[in-house]
Amino acid sequence: MPNLKDLAAKKEPICGGHRACAGCGAPIIVRQVLMSSKDPVVVTSATGCLEVVTTIFPYSAWEVPFLHNAFENSAATCSGVEAAFKALKKKGQAPAEHVNFVAFGGDGGTYDIGFQSLSGAMERGHDMLYVCYNNEAYMNTGIQRSSATPMGAATTTAPAGKVIPGKVQFPKNLTEIMVAHDIPYVAQSAVGFWRDLTSKAEKAFSIRGPKFMNVLQPCRLGWGYKPELTAELGRLAANTCVWPLYEVIEGKYKLTYRPKEKKPVVEFLKMQDRFRHLFRPGNEAILEAIQKEVDRRWEALLNKCEG
């Protein structure tokens, strides 16, 4: 298991000076995941915040090989890089050491437009790790709803209006969909849990074949909170069981974090502007519905972990 001292001594995969917002959770995920690799890494990324803030020409924050292709194809692109590595290895033209291929994508590039590409790459069994930095909306284009956006959240394409109170649907459970791919490793983690995230990344890198990690990334702009609260928001998501931390190894579920006390969902919601309208009189039923669904999903997960 990685410790802070070792991690601090590691070469940074991305350098400072990139253009992410103050308090952005995405670079935290990238650093913690990539620094958990003992082997060299090659990174692909979907179009989105991460690519935009780290690669504005003529600058690049990347200290490791990095390839951005388009929005919906981070996984397919990574699968091509990995295939090339295998082919060139046979001819003795690839690096001799093992290389970890890592594809990043936001929830837009992963849950929605890039979903097919992800599913295909995982099914084909490429030796790669796909990491979704899930900030629960299309933040790069200005906070539009995705299938990861929670019910009740206000986004610019599911705004809180006079008639419709933000997003009407509950989020798609992508982690479970990836479990259903029967790949060797699937995990869910969050910003604010460095040890959980780095341990999972390390485990993922120790396994050959397709791996998927869904990491909750609080977004101070899209969620609406003070930049210094990013890690706190990630922790609250786990402590309210809105975003449980768990992993599934060869189909076997393991809860990696059990909150000491399961907090009410409103404690998480009330910290964020995107849910502010839900606290107006008349919206109590929505808050109740959210709590009910969080409870239902949490119980279902516990059953899988224990059963």
Binding site: V42, I56, A76, G80, Q93, Q116, G120, A121, R124
Partner: protein
């Protein structure tokens, strides 16, 4: 050199087998399915060293090709019609990253309505994506063009992706006698490929696919303009060398009985073969007709075309697709543009024909020549853009 009976698809996949690319990422689509299928069998039988990535869509096919090529691999794929359209978002990314991917394209009509037969609307729809585009007249040319595409695309003066096309079913599924090279000869011909600035160079990490805004984007397009300019002479060079080595020489365009012709057809692909037969027949009757085959559509050989057409009375441009712009098909508008600065130029007429695989017969071509010989006599075209062979 072995002479064998092959369909266009078999000819293309045979070329692929002999090239033995590092990575092929492809998805089946009629009428290009066989290219992918046959290649998968080569992989399964251990006849190639290729990593075959059987992707879940053409979008992922081209995306994986970009990833593999950016990693320094020699990469090929094949597709048609809707598949090429699904790839189309990624095609200009491949050229902007200067990745010499070679694509076996089988020309097929675009939906809708859905149709599986030949026209050129798929290839024409992606004509401005900085891909080299070479049309084949028959299976032999399909084979030769794929080999040459590899050489052209990987030439340091070019470094652009390339597609060689055949006409769906007409070439892709018809058996012809073709002459192939020995495996060892192809290996020698295409040589070793070594990518530059690849994402597998761990010691010199590169960032590829940067966000490139109004302060640099335009400058980064200019080397592509330059590469396309260079491509013209490289294609000619490669075509000449191919002739010297294997006896079949290729250029950007091919004039057939054009020198003293008064009326000539200008066309792409398999129709050129049919036209040659009609030209021979009419020549025997003493009629001064000819053909200008456009082999290379991108880069567009404008000066060469203008020079080749200069002494004609009438040039008849056959387009197997339409631009729906009230200005004629893509070949016509480009030929017309090529002629604008010419001191001597013929009358020109555009026949848009064969959409969705509508047959063009010897008789059809006879009637086109007859009609345009009247125009030559009159010295004036009656109708510039004609939709030929369509029921009213």
């Amino acid at each position: 050199m072995p002479i064998i009976a092959r369909t266009g698809n078999e000819a293309m996949s045979e070329a692929m087998r002999q090239i033995n690319p590092d990575v092929v990422a492809a998805y089946p689509i009629t009428p290009a399915t066989e290219v992918v299928m046959l290649f998968a069998k080569f992989v399964a039988d251990g006849l190639v060293d290729t990593e075959f990535v059987a992707v879940e869509s053409e979008h992922s096919a081209m995306s994986a090709c970009v990833g593999a090529s950016a990693a320094g691999a020699r990469v090929m794929t094949g597709t048609s019609s809707q598949g090429l359209q699904l790839m189309s978002e990624i095609l200009p990314i491949a050229s902007a990253l200067r990745l010499p991917i070679v694509l076996c394209e089988v020309n097929r009509a675009l939906s809708g309505p859905i149709n599986i037969h030949c026209d050129h609307s798929d290839t024409m729809a992606v004509r401005d994506f900085a891909w080299i585009q070479i049309f084949s007249e028959n299976a032999q040319e399909a084979y030769d063009n794929i080999l040459q595409c590899m050489k052209i695309a990987e030439d340091k003066r070019v470094l652009l992706p390339a597609m060689a096309t055949t006409d769906g079913f007409i070439i892709s599924h018809c058996m012809e006698k073709i002459e192939t090279l020995e495996d060892a000869e192809v290996k020698k011909y295409v040589g070793e490929y070594k990518g530059v600035n690849t994402v597998l160079d761990l010691k010199n990490p590169v960032t590829l696919g940067s966000l490139d805004l109004q302060d640099y984007y335009f400058e980064h397009k200019m080397p592509i303009v330059e590469a396309m300019r260079n491509a013209k002479s490289v294609i000619e060079e490669v075509g000449k060398e191919f002739g010297k080595l294997y006896g079949r020489e290729y250029g950007l365009i091919e004039g057939y009985k054009l020198d003293d012709a008064e009326v000539a057809i200008v066309a792409l692909g398999s129709t050129c073969g049919t036209t040659k037969a009609v030209v021979d027949e009419l020549r025997e009757k003493g009629q001064k007709v000819g053909l200008l085959k456009i082999r290379v559509f991108r880069p567009f050989p404008a000066e060469e075309i203008a020079a080749a057409l200069a002494n004609l009375k009438v040039a008849v441009i056959l387009d197997r697709s339409d631009s729906y712009n009230n200005q004629g098909g893509p070949l016509f508008t480009e030929v017309r543009s090529a002629l604008y600065d010419a001191a001597k130029k013929p009358l020109i007429t555009n026949y848009i024909y064969g959409l969705g695989g509508r047959e063009i017969s010897l008789d059809d071509l006879r009637s086109i020549f007859a009609e345009q010989q009247e125009v030559a006599k009159a010295g004036k075209a009656k109708e510039v853009i004609k939709y030929f062979g369509v029921r009213e």
